[in-house]
Point group: C2
Chain length 272, copies 2
DNA sequence: ACCTGAACACCGTTCAAGT
DNA sequence: ACCTGAACACCGTTCAAGT
């Protein structure tokens, strides 16, 4: 099988529980295993094999260590995955204008994220530009880590990097000029869209990689299968009108125009 | 743990492989086990225990049968979950105007779905009304079955009911007046939004059920935790401006206005 | 045609024990 | 302070066997 598992629903989050080890730096012998290496190896494994290919035992083997050693650093597999999740959130490059106080960024380090957020070099720009940047960065990270959506769905995503991201997203939307009581709606529209879009895009790419075919090959194969199955005149007509000769082009067009729709909607309803 | 598992990525879909059994009706002894009952029990278990609480062995026990009996009817756990996924898609009530040819509906039955699509009683209406209906129906089903998003992310979702749903969604959007080459974008914006929105809404509700608290209780608890953690003036201001005294009210407001934004965007860009 | 039981290769995690 | 090995309770699935 591919999803689902046996133990009970987790009731806690890494971010809501105490650190397992004080994690002081100048310790005696550097044994070659620590939080950073473990999370990095976790992400490498997840990228390469997917969530279903990941197990604590596989990870230990990857680290050249016995199955249970990892448990000295990490409470459960769930906590480890939450760390990987927040590390991925940290890869979303945010417009510098949207990143708030230095304290927020400092607290990222304080709770032990793997890497801080990256910041795109940018001068202050239009809120639309900033929105487009955050959206497409988020999309890129979702595609790069196809395991991310499952974790986003499973855990609370209140890690330090997630908080920075959410604040930045909110800051950008506040510049749109929408009244305060509409901001959460607009945020939901844009980011849930990006989430869903990036999810299927990343999954499709991963599927192609696993099957050893190009995206265009798999796309045409699937279209063929579906067309064989039933009458699809309407759908086919739309698909052909979609434009773009490659899957990548179609995706970029769809993504860009969908964002344009959302932005146009915001601008239109702002005036009312 | 809660997600991920051990076996390799599935390369096939129920919908792309042959039926295991010819499934003829007038057989000798009715043993009390069949496709319908199995899928129904699966959905009941998933609703009650979640994806992580579901296993072939639990299901067999639920059916009062030995662990391996189910395998006579169903090839793998993955295939069974695909059947449950499409059955859930069939619960989305579609506006009768948007449901195409009778053949499409006929083919639903032909491939053995659990129940056909429901059709809301409706006279022909504005495309905006239809869009709102499909969106909120989709949302309702996502909330009712919190395991649905994980399955939607994992499998191809090309079952008969999914095909009917997609065609209906497309038919509605075609009535918006957008040019053909923009339809897929608009569909992505609306349905990925609903998917993401319904996902977190359903997950939140499930979490409350599991913890035995009301949604409002958990919401305030979480707000408290997050506020304690770091400076959150902006976010708090927005949250307070959000309006609505209960979580449910906030969610309904957010959902409705986000859809309004999308519709306004479609209408605005349609004119250009 | 339908169902069972034993077995296999995997899990996450606990726990006592090593150094 | 860090790592190991054996063990427990669970998986999905195969396979030979029952009726």
């Amino acid at each position: 099988m591919a999803i689902g598992s046996r133990t009970a629903r987790p009731r806690s989050s890494v971010w809501l529980s105490e650190r397992k080890a004080p994690k002081r730096k100048g310790d005696q012998q550097p044994v070659g295993l620590d939080h950073l290496k473990i999370v990095a190896a976790t992400m490498r494994l997840l990228d390469a094999e997917g969530l279903s290919g990941f197990s604590m035992r596989r990870l230990a083997a990857e680290l050249g260590v016995t199955a249970m050693s990892v448990y000295w650093y990490v409470e459960t597999k769930d906590h480890l995955l939450e760390l990987a999740l927040d590390a991925a959130m940290g890869e979303i490059a945010l417009p510098i204008e949207a990143v708030g106080s230095i304290e927020a960024v400092g607290s990222v380090e304080a709770v032990g994220s793997v890497e801080g957020h990256e910041y795109a070099p940018a001068e202050p720009r239009d809120w639309r530009e900033q929105l487009r940047q955050v959206a497409s960065e988020y999309r890129r990270v979702l595609v790069r880590h196809p395991w991310l959506p499952a974790l986003l769905g499973e855990y609370l995503n209140i890690g330090p990097n997630a908080v920075v991201f959410n604040n930045a997203a909110l800051a950008v939307m506040r510049n749109s000029g929408l009244p305060d009581d509409r901001i959460t709606s607009a945020l939901a529209l844009v980011y849930q869209f990006v989430y869903g879009f990036g999810t299927i895009e990343g999954r499709f790419a991963a599927r192609c990689r696993a099957a050893g075919v190009t995206q265009d090959e798999l796309f045409h194969e699937m279209m063929g299968t579906v067309e064989d199955r039933m009458e699809f005149d309407e759908a086919r007509q739309i698909m052909e009108a979609r434009g773009g000769s490659t899957v990548e082009e179609m995706q970029d067009r769809d993504f860009t125009f969908a964002l344009d729709l959302a932005i146009a909607g915001i601008e239109t309803l702002r005036e009312r």
